[in-house]
């Protein structure tokens, strides 16, 4: 008797759970089917998935909500349904959703290598019509190209970053150092610092892309932008003497103790903290770091006031010039190819990109990929200086790991760590790169 009662209870519980699971699913499909109408004025729901949770990216989250609220006010028939995830979870979920063809109508994507499989799987819609419309000439040159495959653009960038070398003015002053213009001067600066027991460069190379920045710049300055771009695209070779020389220079920097101790085992955050603590004098990083050196109240003011930046110095006899940058757009917005509300989604993306460009610098310290009118904004000097540099830029080389397809990017990153750790020779380094890029995945 007792057993039977429990059996029935258990069964009921199971059925209830199953029903609950199915129920939610039904709700979801109802919502999207009701969004299927394309007549103006009809109720439309746009699903928008992004990666700015309130806790982690408060600034961005606020702007997103602001834009969505405004948009819904201006378009009373449109409801934007948000789904927010953390960075890594976001990437994984996007993959899972794409496998079952359930991508959100609008979502966040990265450029080049990340984008490619989605485009090949015919999951993202081209947005060239937006680029020739209201957004024409609004983007900084060279930013939307990173999202283009075979002449079509598949996402609109929201962020744009270049990587300067930040330096601690107080430390430079203490040892009477000048901002280096050439690589020889740069090496002399490092030597003076390390002779005085100050770590010259903060680097957390456990994350690997951090070291990649150093190689990219040396390659750009020595071999020139074209040689590097060709090698990455597979039409050139990493065995180009200039590129091999760049790899050698990396190892000679390591040999001269230019980087903090144990950099290959430290994460970027740990490496950065050496710079923030004033233990290391220089730090090569993207402009997403700017809030830390300007507006972030959690970092002592005297430190923030002491941070300046300089451009990666030129190498004597090298082919690169000082106004060539390593950088690239960060995330962009895509519209799903299979979306039932594609037109509405595109209109929302257009609106979002425009509004984001107006608010992101002041609201979140994020530099948008759309052109910023510095005269109308009250910005810290460091931002203004960098905006001016961006306008002068002669070329921008996209971060190598973003540019390459996933498998080659992994090889590149692993080899960067090995190169810095002196586990491979510059020649092997070039060899491995050429092999991985020839494989083409």
């Amino acid at each position: 008797m007792f057993g039977k009662k429990w059996g029935v209870l258990l069964l009921t519980l199971c059925v209830a759970l199953f029903a609950a699971g199915c129920g939610q699913k039904d709700e979801g499909s109802n919502a999207s089917s009701s969004a299927g109408g394309d007549k103006a004025g009809e109720k439309v729901t746009i699903k928008f998935m992004h990666l700015w949770p309130e806790g982690v990216s408060a600034g961005q989250n606020k702007i997103v909500n602001q834009i969505i609220n405004d948009y819904q006010k201006e378009h009373p028939n449109v409801t934007i349904k948000q789904e927010v995830l953390d960075n890594e979870q976001y990437k994984n979920k996007l993959k899972v959703l794409s496998a079952s063809n359930e991508l959100p109508d609008v979502g966040v994507t990265w450029a080049a290598g990340f984008l490619k499989p989605y485009v090949e799987g015919n999951l993202f819609a081209p947005v060239d019509d937006l680029l020739s419309g209201e957004l024409k000439d609004k983007f900084v040159a060279g930013t939307t190209e990173a999202y283009a495959i075979d002449g079509k653009t598949y996402a609109l960038p929201l962020e744009f970053n270049i990587a300067p070398i930040y330096y601690n003015k107080a430390i430079f002053k203490k040892y009477n150092l000048e901002v280096p213009q050439t690589y020889e001067q740069f090496k002399a600066v490092s030597k003076t610092l390390s002779d005085n027991g100050v770590a010259p460069i903060a680097l957390g190379n456990k994350d690997r892309w951090t070291g990649s920045l150093w190689y990219m710049y040396l390659a750009d300055r020595i071999a020139g932008q074209k040689a590097l771009a060709d090698a990455i695209a597979g039409s050139g070779s990493f065995k180009d003497p200039g590129l091999v020389q760049a790899a050698k220079e990396v190892q000679s920097l390591v040999d001269s103790n230019a980087f903090i101790k144990g950099f290959n085992g430290l994460s970027n955050e740990e490496g950065k903290s050496e710079f923030l603590n004033g233990k290391a004098a220089m730090y090569l990083m993207g402009t997403w770091e700017l809030p830390n050196y300007t507006t972030n109240e959690e970092i002592p003011k005297e430190f923030r006031d002491n941070v300046g930046f300089f451009k990666f110095p030129t190498v004597e006899g090298g082919k690169g010039n000082i106004d060539s940058w390593v950088g690239g757009p960060g995330v962009g917005l895509f519209v799903s190819q299979n979306s039932e509300v594609k037109e509405e989604a595109k209109a929302f993306v257009e609106y979002f990109v425009t509004k984001w460009g107006e608010q992101s610098v002041t609201g979140a310290g994020v530099i948008p990929a759309t052109k910023v009118d510095t005269s109308s904004l009250d910005l810290p000097q460091l931002y203004i200086d960098l905006f001016n540099e961006m306008n002068k830029a002669s070329s921008i080389t996209l971060f190598a790991d973003v540019q390459m397809p996933a498998n080659a990017a992994e090889t590149h990153l692993n080899n960067i760590q090995a190169l810095f750790g002196k586990a491979v020779s510059p020649e092997q380094f070039s060899e491995e790169h050429d092999k991985a890029i020839a494989k083409g995945n």
């Binding site: 057993g3 499989p117 101790k261 144990g262 290959n264 430290l266 740990e270 996933a406 498998n407 810095f420």
Partner: protein, 293 residues
């Protein structure tokens, strides 16, 4: 109650939910993983059937065998450390003063989440501010190594927290097993004039043997598929010198987006674990198990 339990239909009904769950969550994914391993697939587009190509590539993949060697080393160290845990458990079970307190202290690492342990040990190993290097420096070592970035040291530096993490778990198991041995046996041995060594060796060890066998399997298989601390602390680096099989699988599938190859590694890992378990069972098999009498 008895009536219900003898009804075949009723039994099936009771077993069904758990059976469905375990099929859906464990066995079907295993079969699917084996199948994905036969394909070339980047996780998004179409799968391309390539037969045994992935497995063939795996057999010649130096990085994989390197990571397999690291996993094996970890398994050997884990099994060897069981001896230490057994010795500690014997001391604790011998009703020494404060045994209760020690037992709790040993158990604490097990209560911490892996990520917390990783963060803790990252700080301990920090090349310039870490405790280890501060102590070494104050002892006069001029240039202590950066533990997590030296390719030769990193693996062993990682073994320390991994072994430490599970110490409490095994000590607890052994402690319980030893406590289960009737004290009358020990008393009888004492009356017969056996010393503590003989009691430990001839009475306690054989009677705890069944438990020891289980822990050897647990330690070996747990090490072979170990992932968490390594993922957080070094991510397999620098340059693969702390890569283990599970982290290599993760990197191929989720970083290089090579799900076919990643699945092949995953399935191979399962096979290795099964084989190792079988070998250990064979090696430790005894004809008659000793019973408390």
């Amino acid at each position: 109650m008895d009536k219900v339990m003898s009804n075949k239909k009723m039994i099936a009904l009771y077993v069904l939910p758990a059976l469905l769950l375990i099929l859906a969550i464990v066995y079907i994914p295993i079969v699917l993983t084996a199948y994905y391993g036969l394909n070339e697939w980047n996780g998004i587009g179409r799968m391309k059937f390539v037969g045994l190509d992935n497995y063939a590539e795996l057999l010649g993949d130096r990085t994989f065998w390197n990571s397999a060697w690291h996993s094996l080393l970890l398994a050997v160290f884990s099994c060897a450390s069981l001896l230490v845990y057994l010795a500690i458990a014997m001391v604790l079970a011998a009703r020494i003063k404060g045994a209760n307190l020690f037992r709790k202290i040993y158990l604490i690492p097990m209560l911490l989440s892996s990520v917390a342990i990783a963060q803790l040990w990252l700080r301990i190993y920090h090349p310039s501010n870490g405790i280890v290097n501060s102590v070494l420096e104050s002892l006069g070592f001029a240039n202590p190594p950066a533990w997590l970035s030296e390719p030769k040291l990193v693996l062993f530096a990682l073994f320390v927290p991994i072994l430490w993490q599970y110490a409490g778990f095994y000590i607890l198991i052994y402690y319980a097993a030893l406590k289960n041995i009737p004290s009358s046996l020990e008393e009888a041995a004492k009356i017969d004039g056996a010393n503590s060594w003989q009691i430990a060796w001839k009475i306690k060890l054989p009677l705890a043997m069944e438990v020891i066998k289980v822990t050897i399997v647990l330690a070996a298989v747990g090490s072979l598929k170990y992932f968490d601390l390594i993922y957080v602390m070094t991510d397999g680096g620098p340059n693969g010198s702390s890569e283990v099989m599970a982290s290599y699988m993760y990197h191929t599938a989720f970083r290089a987006y090579d799900f076919g190859y990643g699945s092949a590694i995953g399935f191979f890992l399962l096979v290795i674990c099964l084989v190792v378990t079988w070998i250990i069972r064979k090696l430790t098999a005894t004809k008659d198990t000793i019973q408390y009498s």
